[in-house]
């Protein structure tokens, strides 16, 4: 394999950062989905409760946000991600300019 240069062309750089985002999306998802852990539970303190409607709005909002993010990332990286040599680190940078 040819040694890849340290600095990449702007476009390949973008693609790689998008792939980073693809990889980090589940981490963000985990953080968002685990937020309910800090919500008050009636059994602890009956006075403080999280209304169901808010809980629903938050969860489905976060869910939808993640779906949209996944969709956007797919739009940006779809051609590269599932390529056999898809590891951008292992892939020689795309050199043609556009």
């Amino acid at each position: 394999m040819a040694r890849s240069p340290i600095f990449l062309e702007r476009r390949s750089y973008r693609v790689r950062r998008m792939m980073d985002a693809v990889r980090l999306l589940p981490v963000l998802g985990l953080a968002l989905f685990m937020v309910p852990l800090i919500w008050p539970v009636p059994s602890d303190d009956p006075s403080e409760t999280m209304p169901m409607s808010t809980a629903l709005e938050y969860l489905f909002g976060a869910w939808m946000f993640l779906v949209l993010a996944g969709w956007l990332l797919w739009r940006r990286t779809g051609a590269h991600a599932a390529d056999p040599a898809s590891d951008p680190a292992a892939k020689p940078p795309v050199t043609e300019a556009r």
């Binding site: 309910p36 059994s43 999280m50 629903l56």
Partner: protein, 899 residues
């Protein structure tokens, strides 16, 4: 109100429609058409929706009505796994494709050295874990049917009220079995995908989504009167506050995420039926979207159901009973079909996946074991495999049906979804460990799986039957066999945990810990290590590492076996392609390791890795890789190194030999020149005396009146010349005798001084005072026992040479005798000019004469000396250092030469 008969007719029509769709899809795939649909990411995503079973369709609402928002964790976990497709799913799919994995059991067994034991354990665990789930689907269909059958029975919703539940369940089970057998076992090679099934599943996915959305929209906008009103209603209801314990939230999310990866049916659609890795990324957002939509209206339906329906209604059936209670028969019908779809698609795919596992890992190995030489015998294995798979399908659906009948559709079934997840999630450590960690071993996987399975049985499955059914109350209170730390809901005495959280945490964590610890302390066998490297480094080199080393496998045997598993046409095409690749126009390919490897993989697609491995092993013989093979690979490089160093040594040797040859050649050339020189010399030497002899004898014959004095002079000249000739011939003869080894030594004893005295006297006879001899009488007083005449000859020759050729003004020859413990050494050194360096190498050769030196010898003296000394066991050599010409002769220490 819809009558039961109407419902049955709609149901049958729907099923007939499904059969038709599946049939058309199969046909289109066979003709190579409709690829855009069959191979589209949409169908792939929709087929993933078998995750949402009747448990989702009916159960989620019931779940929400009982426990609020907790139901959503069942979809959040899988969504997270899908969002993280890059990390795990992508790897799984790649491995599944490159290793031709047929099931989750196949994956694990293949990873850990194609171990069949592991495959059997995973299969059994999967069957135990999934069978109740299948029963749950049958139950939901029967329940939903019963609602239509006895609308008055909605309150309480007694199972099977109004219809014969058992018979209905039997018919449903039979129908599902028929569908699965028809479309699931059409082709043997699982990797060729079940287009019919996949398409049917996709259609059902749409049906259930549409049905649930329709009910939801009806409830929110038709019943509750809009979004805001619904929200107010939700907050005012009894599930109006978030009240999920954090531990359950996290544990259920993790559990469902794990289940997405480990459920056999999910593995089937996600990995085995995957056409294109790129679809995975599309599914990574599309499938969470699907699940989002599926769970979107769950809470509104539950809240409105709780509000509107009479107290005691089964919340599991709100999706059906709400539209019915509002008189929306069409919607209720759609909803029923949605639930029916969820149940049937799940049962079909789950059964398909399980039957593949059962037939590949349990039936086929048994069949192979029963027929020791089975793989090469005649008879179509294809039929056996397909039959095994069909029987497995019937067996699994039968088991589900039996479970349903025996559990009597009890309320315990509602929890079976989570329990089932808990069972299959036990595969997770072995699976993830297998694809990310090369150090994971078979023993580790075995121990981890077994422990996790046992814990799951003890803490999750058995307690689910209720107290005092399987486990007595005493076990709950005092632990198994009275051991306090073995209580099913408080292992190690840690109490206060939610039972589900308790079971999930303990079983998964101990499973993983034991898996890792045992892996750390055991050593994998070679096949395991090869497979491990291939699984973990699947993106580095997708090509298979070499496995089979033996090439004794007959191509014909392989061909016969392949024909019987793959089918004659496919097998012939495969072999022909391989033969072409190997460069044969026709005929069978050579059974190269690469070819056997490819064939095994092809077979693995049909009967699973472990069975394929066993079958090929029967023909090829022995294990594929032994330590010796690995060592041999390592040895090869060592041998190469050794070989190259040998070559180096050889080439060094050769160059040395070449140098020696060059030297010898030079010597030969020189000798040849000398021989030429000698020939002219000897002809001259012979000619000169001959000429004189002839001339003087002619004078004596012809001339008259010669004086007597002259006559005498002439005669003596003739005599002298004759003597000279004789001496020359004697020398030649002498040398030839010495060289041929025909000489007999005349061994005598005398002091060295006497031998020297005689030699000097003889050599210097007639050369009065010409050469001064320098001697040390003390050192010469040595006794000698050798051929004294020959030794004297050498001395004479050396002294005479010195006398003849020493050109010094006052020629002097010093004779030094040295004797230490070693040989006796005698040096003859004169004060002459010495011999030129280039001549030194050849002075002992025959016919050598130093150029430009006058003399009477024929150049045989030194050669004779050399031969004599060799015969006497000593030697002679020229002494290059020193002032004049010097020779050193030595005799062996005991001086018993020749004896």
């Amino acid at each position: 109100m819809v009558s039961l008969n109407q419902l049955v007719i709609v149901c049958l029509t729907y099923v007939a429609g499904l059969f038709f769709v599946a049939f058309m899809a199969e046909r289109a795939a066979l003709r190579g058409r409709g690829g855009w649909l069959l191979h589209s990411p949409l169908v792939y995503t929709l087929s993933l929706s078998i995750y949402c079973t009747a448990w989702t369709f009916y159960g989620a609402v019931g779940y929400a009505a009982r426990s609020g928002l907790e139901y959503v964790t069942i979809y959040l976990g899988p969504s997270l796994v899908m969002f993280g497709w890059w990390w795990v799913l992508r790897r799984l799919v790649r491995i599944g494709r490159s290793q031709r994995v047929t099931s989750v059991a196949d994956l694990i067994s293949s990873r850990y050295g194609k171990s069949n034991l592991l495959a059997i354990i995973v299969t059994v665990m999967a069957v135990v874990g999934v069978t109740p789930y299948i029963a749950l689907q049958l139950q939901s269909v029967v329940l939903s049917l019963s609602i239509f059958a006895a609308p008055e029975a909605i309150p309480g919703a007694e199972v099977g009220a109004g219809i014969n539940a058992g018979r209905a369940a039997l018919w449903v089970a039979l129908g599902l079995a028929l569908f699965t057998v028809l479309f699931g076992t059409r082709n043997l090679n699982v990797n060729e995908r079940h287009h019919g099934v996949v398409i049917a599943v996709a259609v059902e996915a749409v049906v259930k989504l549409v049905a649930l959305l329709a009910v939801g929209i009806f409830v929110v906008w038709g019943v509750a009167g809009g979004l805001t009103e619904t929200m107010t209603r939700i907050d005012a209801s009894e599930i109006g506050a978030f009240r999920v314990q954090g531990s359950r939230w996290a544990a259920l999310t993790a559990l469902s995420g794990a289940a997405l990866l480990c459920l056999p049916r999910m593995f089937q659609v996600m990995v085995v039926e995957n056409d294109d890795e790129r679809y995975l990324q599309i599914a990574s957002w599309a499938f969470p979207l699907y699940m989002l939509l599926m769970s979107l209206f769950v809470v509104p339906i539950a809240v409105v159901g709780l509000d509107l329906l009479p107290e005691g209604s089964n919340p599991d059936l709100f999706v059906l009973s709400l539209p019915l209670s509002q008189g929306q028969n069409g919607l209720a019908m759609l909803s029923f079909l949605g639930g029916f779809s969820s149940a049937t698609s799940m049962v079909i795919v789950a059964t398909l996946a399980l039957s593949t596992m059962v037939s590949n890992h349990i039936v086929m190995p048994i069949w192979l074991a029963l027929r020791r030489d089975g793989a090469t015998q005649s008879g179509d294995v294809r039929n056996v495999v397909i039959l095994a798979r069909r029987l497995s399908i019937l067996l699994i659906i039968g088991l589900g049906f039996l479970y349903y009948r025996s559990s009597g559709g009890s309320g315990a079934l509602a929890a079976i979804g989570t329990i089932s997840f808990g069972g299959v999630a036990q595969f997770l450590p072995a699976m993830l460990g297998g694809i990310f960690w090369r150090g994971a071993t078979r023993m580790g996987a075995l121990c981890g799986l077994s422990l996790g399975f046992a814990l799951w049985l003890f803490t999750m499955l058995l307690p689910s039957f209720g107290m005092d059914t399987v486990l007595s109350q005493a076990v709950y209170e005092t632990g198994l066999m009275g051991l306090g730390w073995l209580r099913p809901q408080a292992l190690f005495g840690i109490e206060g945990l939610d039972p589900t959280v308790h079971a999930v945490v303990w079983s998964l964590s101990l499973n993983a810990i034991i898996f890792v610890v045992v892996s750390l302390f055991t050593f994998p066998d070679p096949v395991e290590r090869l497979q491990g490297a291939q699984f973990v480094n699947v993106f580095d080199h997708s090509s298979p590492a070499r496995g089979w080393t033996a090439s004794v496998a007959g191509s014909e045997d392989l061909m016969i076996m392949a024909q019987r598993i793959l089918g004659a046409r496919e097998a012939q095409a495969f072999f022909a392609g391989e033969a072409r690749r190997q460069g044969f126009a026709d005929g069978l390919p050579q059974p190269t390791p690469r070819f056997v490897q490819a064939l095994e993989r092809e077979l693995a697609g049909a009967v699973g890795a472990a069975t394929a491995h066993a079958m090929v092993a029967q023909i090829v013989g022995g294990t594929s890789v032994s330590v010796q093979d690995l060592l041999a690979v390592a040895d090869e490089s060592a041998q190469m190194l050794e070989y190259s160093s040998q070559l180096e040594a050889k080439s060094r040797e050769l160059s040395q030999t070449a140098a020696q040859l060059r030297e010898a050649n030079e010597k030969l050339t020189q000798l040849s020149l000398q021989k030429d020189g000698f020939l002219s010399q000897i002809s001259h030497e012979l000619r000169t005396p001959m000429t004189s002899i002839r001339s003087f004898s002619e004078i004596l014959r012809d001339a008259k009146g010669i004086k007597a004095a002259d006559k005498t002079r002439y005669a003596s000249i003739i005599h002298d010349e004759t003597i000279r000739l004789t001496r020359l011939l004697d020398d030649l003869l002498d040398l030839s005798v010495l060289q041929n080894g025909q000489v007999t030594l005349n061994v005598q004893s005398a002091p060295l001084s006497r031998v020297l005295d005689q030699a000097i006297t003889t050599a210097l006879a007639g050369r009065n005072g010409a050469l001064a001899i320098c001697r040390d009488p003390l050192t010469e007083a040595l006794p000698l026992t050798t051929d004294l005449d020959r030794l004297g000859q050498v001395f004479i020759n050396l002294v005479a040479n010195a006398a003849k050729y020493c050109r010094a003004a006052e020629p002097e020859l010093s004779i030094k005798v040295q004797e230490s413990d070693g040989p006796l050494v005698i040096d003859f050194v004169d004060n002459g000019a010495g011999i030129a360096e280039d001549a030194q190498a050849v002075i002992f050769e025959k016919f050598f004469r130093v150029h430009g030196v006058e003399g009477e010898g024929a150049g045989l003296g030194l050669a004779i000396c050399h031969e004599i000394m060799t015969r006497l066991g000593g030697g002679i050599r020229y002494l290059p250092q020193g002032a004049g010409t010097g020779f050193r002769i030595w005799l062996p220490a005991e001086r018993e030469a020749g004896v």
